[in-house]
């Protein structure tokens, strides 16, 4: 087990290193550097040049890369040109919002996927199954951003049931019950629109996995031993159908990342996805770079986690 995890880490670490190199190259290509936004443009060009020399901006690229990466490891991601604050601090304030949004989305995704997938697989070809496969059929064809937009239009603007922007109603003090409720109220619609679309692949996988498992010999054995129908489904089949679901879990993180970019900009929800789009539009390079790096690392860790989960569930992978 540990051997597998260590070996898997040995793949992930070079990936992270390579990712950081690519991100650094992008950073060099971006307009502006660490000094833009910090200095007054009316300053003497000679003084700026001296500052550049002092900050090491004239060094060869590999020295600059070394400086940058050691800064990143210490948590120094530079200065935001627009917000005039540390990128680490800025991202930290947005990270919390995105974290809650992603968490709620994931919870709703599985709350929908597990029952729907099980019902659809257990009673397949029945009316219930047809309704559920009909839902997945449309869900697959609907782009997330269009769905989120329509949800906002219907439930945000037309019915007014949900707020149409922000992460919390203004004027509430953090820590109070009203504050928490308002947060959840703001979270619900974005999370629901993302979950309703991302869940369809999980539902479909679970369904086909259950239908496949149904006909296996060990299920027939369980039945002939006299296990009740609910025990056969909830215990024998469900556990064996979890494998592809756990494999999907890692790719869910990648989906969440691109999902938050769309959903947060549509709902003007102050998270990292919205910050990313803003920072690109406003040429706030240091913020954009830091976010690409962070999301990239999250992506790598996501696949790492899903591989580890897979190896826990399926011993055959470990041996290989």
């Amino acid at each position: 087990m540990w051997k597998f995890i260590v070996r898997r880490l040995m793949i992930a670490l070079p990936q992270i290193a390579l990712l950081s190199l690519i991100v650094f190259i992008i950073a060099l290509m971006m307009p502006g550097d660490a000094l833009t936004g910090l200095v007054d443009p009316t300053l003497d060009p000679a003084a700026i040049a001296a500052q550049r020399e002092r900050l090491g901006l004239n060094n060869p690229w590999y020295v600059q890369y070394g400086d940058w990466i050691s800064g990143v490891i210490r948590g120094d991601l530079g200065q935001s040109f627009r917000y005039k604050m540390d990128v680490t601090e800025l991202i930290g304030s947005r990270l919390v919002n995105t974290f809650w949004l992603s968490l709620l989305t994931t919870v709703i995704t599985y709350l929908i996927a597990l029952p729907l997938g099980i019902i659809s697989g257990r009673y397949h070809d029945s009316l219930r199954d047809q309704v559920i496969t009909g839902y997945t059929y449309f869900g697959f064809a609907t782009p997330l951003f269009i769905f989120a937009l329509v949800m906002l239009w219907i439930f945000g603007f037309n019915t007014g049931w949900f707020p149409t922007g922000g992460s919390v109603a203004p004027g509430l003090t953090p820590g109070t019950w009203a504050y928490v409720l308002s947060k959840i109220h703001h979270l619900l619609l974005p999370a629901l629109s993302m979950a309703l679309i991302t869940t369809v692949s999980t539902v479909q996988y679970l369904r086909s996995e259950i239908i496949d498992t149904k006909q296996k010999d060990f299920i027939i054995t369980a039945r002939s031993k006299g296990a009740s129908e609910s025990r056969v489904y909830n215990y024998h089949i469900f556990r064996n159908s979890l494998l592809p679901i756990s494999a999907l879990f890692g790719s869910d993180i990648a989906k969440l990342i691109s999902g938050t970019i769309f959903v947060e900009s549509i709902y003007s929800y102050p998270g990292m996805g919205q910050l990313f789009v803003e920072s690109i539009l406003q040429r706030d390079s240091s913020v954009a770079i830091a976010l690409v790096l962070l999301f990239g690392i999250a992506n790598i860790l996501g696949t790492l986690i899903s591989d580890v989960i897979l190896s826990l569930v399926d011993p055959r992978i470990r041996i290989k």
Partner: protein
């Protein structure tokens, strides 16, 4: 004697109809939904391309300050946007551009993915190992963010650079599927026979293996076309798709990022949203039917 001969002929005919593309075609014909979708998709494509040949592009993008935000009427079938530009005309041009980029990206990713997968799977061994590490690395990159960054970075940004950027991060899925198939195929006897006969590797790869994967490739590309149309409109929606002078369906939707437009002027964004949905749905219907055709267990007849 005669009777036996006839039987052989019949058998041959029956056998022939089981090969390759004819199976795909038959599945489409038998699946009513897929057939209707295919006709719908071809209809839209032809209409859009023909009309945009006739339509005057300058006329559509001309700003008319006397007709700002007009609701649908007889002169403006679907109303006008904030610049007084006709939405219906923009919808036609937008659909054309969206479809065009969809086709370009699908073909480019197809060529790169198939070649990569074929080489990797056919040669296997060390080369395969190295190529798979490269693929894995591309796979873990945060795709959407990098596309956005590159779109913002590239100087003299154009439709061509946009499709190249999208292609650069989208070929991996195809390559992986083709590689897995090629790995299976290379173990088969006919490949071994060709090798023994001294057929050059590239000839086996593109002359023998590739034709055997053709129906699979068509299925993947069809499903990818649907995904690419959605992706392009998503990127244009965020403002990182087409350059400003070429509207796409996503551009029309991006007007809805203005809360007032979203709330009160549905005619600007709703038709584009429905059109994207219908296009993706119809292409997917065709793709799913083709997928069933390539899987003998699910095939009809």
């Amino acid at each position: 004697m005669e009777a036996i001969k006839l039987d052989i002929k019949k058998e041959k005919k029956a056998h022939k109809s089981q090969t390759g593309l004819s199976i795909l075609w038959r599945e489409i014909i038998h699946d009513k939904l897929a057939l209707i979708s295919l006709i719908f998709f071809i209809g839209i494509t032809v209409t859009v391309f023909v009309i945009s040949l006739v339509l005057d592009l300058d006329e559509i993008v001309r700003v008319d300050l006397f007709a700002i935000h007009e609701p649908p009427s007889r002169t403006f079938w679907l109303g006008t946007d904030y610049g007084g530009r006709d939405i219906f005309g923009q919808l036609i041009i937008g659909t054309r551009n969206s479809l065009l980029i969809g086709f370009i990206v699908t073909i480019l990713t197809g060529v790169i993915g198939v070649t990569f997968g074929l080489i990797s799977g056919y040669f296997a061994g060390h080369l395969d190992n190295v190529m798979m590490r490269i693929l894995e690395f591309f796979n873990i990159l945060p795709f959407l963010m990098l596309v956005i960054v590159f779109v913002a970075l590239v100087p003299k940004y154009s439709t061509v650079s946009f499709s190249l950027i999208m292609t650069a991060f989208l070929w991996m899925e195809i390559a992986r599927i083709i590689r897995a198939k090629a790995l299976q195929e290379r173990e088969l006897d006919y490949i071994q026979a060709s090798k023994t006969l001294g057929t050059p590797n590239w000839k086996i790869m593109f002359g023998h293996v590739l034709p055997n994967l053709s129906s699979l490739i068509i299925v993947i590309l069809t499903l990818n076309l649907a995904a690419n149309i959605g992706l392009e409109s998503g990127l244009s929606f965020l403002g990182f798709g087409f350059p400003e002078d070429t509207p796409s369906l996503g551009t029309l939707l991006s007007y809805a990022r203005n809360p007032q437009t979203l709330q009160d002027r549905w005619w600007i964004w709703l038709p584009a949203a429905i059109l994207i949905f219908l296009l993706m749905l119809s292409v997917r219907n065709v793709g799913e039917a083709l997928k069933r055709a390539t899987d003998p267990r699910q095939r009809r007849g």
